[in-house]
């Protein structure tokens, strides 16, 4: 049975890893390389790294970080932020990313998804859609790290991305980001019902119950986590954690939880080849 993924999302700011609330008031949470190493040691299902100051500063993803993380880890790993061309994608993949994350460019230029999918395969195209719920209940997509209103509904953006060849969507509720108050399950459900590709839910994770809710009720294939895996306790002390197999099994059907604790027995005789 296909397992539900829990995916830490790391945001690469000007100073290093940063995390805020509602895409604002970001605080420094640490060194990307160390964080990635710790997540790799937790044998996480997958990791996403986004350079959130690339697009606002009109420059491509800082590939050196991607390269450093890829060199020291073996986890499945998606990277992006500031990707505007096939060349940007190729550089990320050559640096060791397994998948490319597209956000602003996917909305402004869906043809880029199409050419990326035909060159690298659609499984490689992870399209990230950030959506804000306005006070009147209307949803709107924002690009450039939540700073630029795109004037379209997330469901429409999702359909366009799928038609262009996206392999998966990461749908983040800006109004839940960093709050640890639970995902916007309705937003996720609306997108999941509108497309046939898998959807990763983002924005709001604060407990394994939240993850179970967005998977079971929202139909998400995976749950992205930010604050939930980098902050600990009420005072938001920086501490990298990852939900245990036992905690996930308490809230999800057992066959949907990957038992990452199963490892081969140590075998000293064949340690060297």
């Amino acid at each position: 049975m296909h397992k539900t993924r829990v995916i830490p999302v790391l945001l690469l700011g000007a100073r290093g890893l940063e995390k805020g609330v509602g895409f604002r008031n970001r605080v420094y949470v640490g060194c990307p390389r160390n964080a990635a190493r710790v997540f790799n040691a937790h044998r996480v299902d997958e990791l996403v790294l986004v350079d959130i100051v690339a697009t606002p500063n009109c420059r491509p993803t800082r590939v050196d970080y991607v390269q450093e993380i890829a060199r020291e880890t073996t986890m499945p790993f998606a990277a992006g932020g500031g990707v505007r061309s096939l060349d940007d994608m190729r550089r990320l993949l050559e640096a060791g990313a397994d998948r490319v994350v597209l956000n602003t460019a996917a909305v402004e230029n869906p043809c880029l998804i199409e050419s990326g999918a035909s060159r690298f395969g659609s499984q490689c195209m992870l399209v990230s859609i950030d959506a804000l719920r306005h006070p009147d209940g209307r949803y709107e997509v924002f690009t450039a790290c939540g700073t630029r209103p795109a004037g379209i509904d997330p469901v429409e953006a999702a359909r366009i991305a799928e038609a262009a060849g996206a392999g998966e969507l990461l749908v983040t509720a800006i109004h839940r980001d960093g709050t640890m108050s639970g995902y916007d399950v309705d937003l996720v459900r609306r997108v999941v019902d509108a497309v046939n590709i898998p959807v990763i839910a983002g924005g709001g994770a604060g407990s394994v119950e939240h993850i179970a809710e967005v998977v079971l009720r929202g139909g998400a294939a995976a749950a992205a986590c930010g604050a939930f895996v980098v902050f600990y306790g009420k005072r938001r002390t920086v501490l990298i954690t990852y939900p245990s197999v036992r905690d996930l099994r308490a809230v999800l059907p057992e066959e949907r939880v990957r038992n990452r604790d199963l490892v081969p027995p140590p075998d000293m005789t064949a340690a060297r080849l």
Binding site: T74, M75, Q123
Partner: protein, 213 residues
């Protein structure tokens, strides 16, 4: 034991290379068909589409030297993901295209999970291996270990005795295949932590035996 990873221009070889290096194995990046001449063991990786990858192999002049190494000299080979699919007789991705035809059959088709299963494509993420037969490649890997997949197509219509194990994503498909010294896995052992590394180590041991079931 040295392992030659075939670099025919379709994909990212960094993680496969690093995985073998972490096992202490010497890795040769085969950028030219000449590099197959003295190879002990081959790895055929690949991401992207079937037709395009076959075109890359053809254009790079790989087809003849690969056939000679694998079918005549019987150099052990491991295909990963698209690399396994290329070993089939033909593929339907990107138009009907002949494959390497190393498995005596197999047609690469898009997975077709029934709508009521709720399974979506691409199949991305972790999954179990089911009906795992006895094969040295699985030595020491606990039953219930999961592996990382990222694909929409699978090798269909293979003779049952070529299928080492299956996995299921709304519909059951071949997750690992073998014909004597020719092995293929649909998942990514290089992205599957310790169990994946164990499988790669098992492949090297298997390749070093020089006799194949």
């Amino acid at each position: 034991m040295k392992v030659t990873i075939i670099d025919y221009g379709a994909g990212n070889l960094g993680s496969v290379t690093r995985a073998f290096e972490s096992l202490g194995t010497e890795v040769i990046l085969g950028r030219d068909p000449v590099s197959l001449a003295g190879a002990d063991a081959l790895v055929l990786p690949g991401v992207g589409a079937f037709a395009e990858a076959m075109m890359f192999l053809d254009r790079g002049g790989w087809l003849g030297p690969l056939r000679e190494a694998v079918l005549e000299r019987r150099v052990p080979v491991l295909g990963i993901c698209l690399g396994m699919q290329l070993m089939a007789t033909r593929g339907e991705e990107g138009g009907n295209t002949p494959g390497l035809n190393w498995l005596d059959g197999g047609v690469v088709r898009r997975l077709c999970p029934p709508p009521e299963s709720g399974a979506r494509l691409p199949h991305i993420g972790w999954n179990d291996l089911i009906d795992r037969g006895e094969h040295p490649i699985f030595a020491g890997i606990p039953a219930g270990a999961t592996f990382y997949f990222a694909h929409s197509y699978h090798v269909d219509a293979l003779p049952e005795d070529r299928v080492l194990c299956r996995s299921s994503h709304g519909v059951s498909f071949a997750a690992a295949v073998a014909r004597d010294h020719i092995l293929g896995v649909q998942f990514h052992p290089e992205k599957s932590y310790v169990n994946g590394l164990r499988l790669l180590r098992n492949f090297l041991e298997f390749a070093g035996r020089r006799t194949y079931a």
